[in-house]
């Protein structure tokens, strides 16, 4: 073993001396990719979206980016949520591979090990290799389960951008001169100082990694805030901040496993169909931008699988209390959604064969070369090339 390691090291050393630098670079990249393995990004259309407003003939106009990407990946038109139709339990089922029936509002950790814990434990991956970046502010406990053999030591960093945004705006509005809320600089300043005060205050979990690493994380997050506030559009949405933080985390730390939870479309609960449609269009745009980042970022290009799916649907128009506003009826519109798999390791195609939400974690585990413990879901063989 020792001699093989020595020979490998020697080979690299010699190659550096004899190969042209460009070729050396490609070889190094390939070796690096192989060593680091596949990356997986789970993107959830959190809050819930119906197929009728997305992958239906009438819905495609709301998701132009996903519609354009669909032929490049594998599309499941029946992705079933057979669990509890609350946000926390739905997403927890996706990330654990087991139907979760814990507290609906996130006051309990998932009852079975998350993909993050399985991944970190199996690969002895560091804390910067698994992240949850979630607009839903009740997802603080999404990064690690209550399983004693796993738990927080193997969990993901959890960042809740909207909670930070809410706290900042709340603080500003409480001041006598509420005019500040219209001032981007004032909002930026408050966001930054809240970060300085500590992540715990906004419900985040960021693992300590030494003074330099902590500083690095803080700088990365602060940079994301700057991009969000000073971007070309009026920054109004939690999802946009989620995107900017995700992109900075990808650029700086290149984690191998990421859950990105967009959630603006939960505005449907307010009873405005137009705002719900706008939120879907925004999530589509941000998911497209995330895919663009995967393509542009050499740490992700050609080695990343992106799995996009709604965490649940919403009630159908015909036979429920108030249609798109809610997601508790359990009708097909609420339970049957879709999944789009894109990128490395994914076949092209489409099927009407059902896949369950709990199969997503098992599929991701397979892509990450993990043999997961105690997952009820099965890998989606159709998509794995």
């Amino acid at each position: 073993m020792l001699s093989r390691d020595f020979l490998k090291l020697a080979g690299l050393t010699i190659a550096q001396r004899i190969l042209p630098p460009a070729l050396m670079n490609i070889w190094a990249q390939a070796a690096d990719a192989q060593a680091k393995g596949r990356k997986v990004i789970l993107v959830t259309f959190g809050g819930g979206v119906r197929t009728s407003e997305t992958f239906s003939p009438a819905g495609l106009r709301n998701i132009p980016r996903l519609a354009e990407l669909q032929p490049q990946g594998f599309f499941y038109q029946n992705c079933l949520n057979q669990g509890t139709l609350s946000h926390f339990n739905s997403t927890a089922s996706i990330v654990t591979g087991n139907w979760q029936r814990v507290d609906d509002f996130g006051f309990e950790a998932p009852a079975s090990a998350t993909l993050f814990e399985q991944f970190r434990k199996a690969h002895k991956a560091g804390p910067l290799d698994a992240w949850v970046i979630a607009t839903n502010k009740s997802f603080a406990a999404m990064g690690a389960s209550s399983q004693t053999s796993f738990g927080l030591p193997f969990g993901a960093n959890v960042v809740l951008p909207k909670q930070l945004l809410l706290d900042a705006i709340n603080d500003i509005v409480k001041k006598p001169d509420a005019a500040d809320v219209a001032n981007r600089d004032a909002v930026h300043q408050r966001l930054t100082s809240l970060l300085e005060e500590g992540y715990e205050g906004v419900g985040w979990t960021i693992f300590k990694g030494g003074r330099q690493m902590d500083k690095n994380i803080r700088t990365t997050l602060t940079r994301a805030l700057g991009e969000f506030i000073n971007g070309p559009e009026v920054p109004t949405s939690g999802d946009e901040l989620t995107f900017f933080i995700t992109r900075e985390v990808m650029r700086e730390f290149a984690p191998r496993l990421l859950l990105v939870n967009f959630w603006d479309m939960d505005v449907a609960h307010w009873g405005s169909y137009s705002l719900y449609l706008q939120a879907i269009a925004k999530t589509d745009r941000l998911t497209g931008m995330l895919w663009d980042e995967v393509q542009a970022n050499p740490k992700y290009r050609n080695q990343t699988t992106v799995l996009v799916l709604p965490e649940l649907g919403r009630d159908g128009d015909m036979n429920t209390a108030n249609g798109f506003l809610n997601h508790r009826s359990g009708d097909p519109s609420c339970r049957n959604t879709w999944l789009l798999a894109l990128g490395a390791g994914v076949n092209k195609g489409a099927t009407d064969k059902p896949i369950r939400h709990i199969d997503v974690a098992a599929t991701a585990a397979s892509l990450l070369s993990i043999k997961p413990e105690g997952m009820a879901g099965s890998p989606a063989r159709e998509i794995l090339s």
């Binding site: 705006i169 709340n170 108030n322």
Partner: protein, 395 residues
């Protein structure tokens, strides 16, 4: 005031009985139509074959329902959670639906057959013509002859005369004939309130003091960090009824307003969501003979401060309030459908209801009605339409 029917729920599965026990506990806050329904139901259940409930009883055992997890007569938020999170919840819903499908025809047979009317008004500011209105509905576009003076539109439609004549309105006539809870006006603004006296009147605009008090209370409770989540918040707000000067002393309506604002998603935030949800609840609970709903224009969500959903948006930012015309149009298209569908769920409305969808100033309306609705020929003036509605309701 009638007393609750005496009924022993012990032979009915506990999860089925729970809802009715809870409803009957709040008997004094039920509308006459609801009380009448529960009386019919109680009478039916007393004679119902026991085997009707056998599958549900067996399922309850598999779900883990027992005296410890669910004592008889109990129905709390924890029980709702128990059902929602239970692995067998979809099966439970299916069995409960099957029981209602069995019961419904017998209960519906006792309903008195009367004509009814639902009028849904949209604001003049919607940025589309009649060809793009009401696209989710199945019915007929009818040519109208609106008045030159659009300020007379509502008055001509609802009273048949110009506003200066102070004639009695259709909702008031219906209320006189069939009782105050048989005739409702529900609106975003206060135009109907000014025209229609009598009957039951609900105005989002006129509820402003109560809405502000509720939002202040929510902010206060949330700021005290006593509540862990929406469940606890809901329980705390259960006692926050409107005061007499905020609405009226009518106990039934006070509870209706409270629950519409606090149980209906978004009703505290958006005028049109309130109108839609209040209409749905009125149809479901009070089964009015005449319902006139009037939508408005929703405001745009403000940058940053719009995230603080219970904040007073006028106070929390200097950014001026802007109306969202197109967004309101998109919202209303769905709401027309939901109101129409809701009525269709109840035997009182099936085949006996004329639905009139109008937009102030527009020279067309949309009609869904039995053939016998006495629609005047050609371009219909609003006063003639008013007469047709009165004939239809026989008031």
């Amino acid at each position: 005031m009638p007393t609750p029917p005496r009924f022993d729920f012990n032979h009915v599965p506990v999860t089925f009985a729970a809802y009715f026990v809870e409803q009957i506990r709040g008997w004094d806050t039920l509308f006459p139509a609801e009380q009448n329904y529960f009386e019919r139901l109680a009478a039916f259940l007393e004679k119902a074959p026991p085997e009707l409930f056998t599958p549900l009883g067996q399922l309850e055992s598999r779900m883990g329902v027992n005296l410890r997890t669910w004592p008889r007569g109990g129905f709390t938020l924890e029980h709702v959670d128990f059902l929602n999170r239970n692995q067998l919840y979809p099966e439970w819903r299916r069995l409960v639906s099957a029981i209602f499908e069995y019961i419904a025809p017998a209960l519906d047979a006792a309903i008195e057959s009367r004509t009814r009317i639902v009028i849904v008004l949209s604001p003049a500011e919607l940025p589309v013509g009649p060809d793009r209105m009401w696209t989710r509905l199945t019915g007929r576009r009818i040519a109208l002859a609106p008045p030159d003076d659009l300020s007379q539109y509502l008055s001509l439609l609802l009273t048949g005369q110009a506003q200066t004549n102070m004639a009695t309105s259709l909702p008031s006539l219906c209320a006189s004939a069939r009782g105050p809870h048989s005739s409702w006006t529900i609106e975003a603004g206060d135009g109907l309130h000014r025209l229609a006296t009598g009957g039951t009147s609900v105005s989002y605009e006129k509820l402003l003091p109560y809405r502000q008090r509720v939002m202040t209370e929510i902010r206060k409770i949330a700021g005290q960090s006593e509540v862990r989540g929406p469940r606890e918040l809901g329980a705390k707000l259960k006692t926050l009824q409107p005061k007499v000067n905020e609405y009226s002393s009518d106990q039934v309506m006070g509870e209706f307003i409270r629950s519409t604002l606090l149980n209906g998603n978004g009703t505290l935030l958006f005028n049109n969501t309130f109108v839609e949800w209040a209409c749905v609840q009125a149809l479901r609970r009070a089964r009015p003979s005449c319902l006139v709903a009037s939508f408005g224009i929703r405001n745009k969500v403000k940058p940053f401060s719009g995230l603080l959903i219970f904040a007073d948006q006028e106070q929390s930012t200097i950014i001026p309030t802007q109306a969202d015309m197109f967004g309101s149009y998109v919202d209303l298209e769905v709401f027309y459908q939901y109101i129409w569908q809701e009525a269709g769920k109840y035997a009182e409305y099936r085949d006996k209801t004329a639905f009139l969808f109008l937009a102030e100033g527009m020279d067309e309306m949309f009609l869904i009605a039995p053939e016998s609705f006495p629609l005047p020929a050609d371009k219909v003036p609003l006063d003639a339409l008013h007469v047709a509605c009165r004939k239809w309701l026989a008031v």
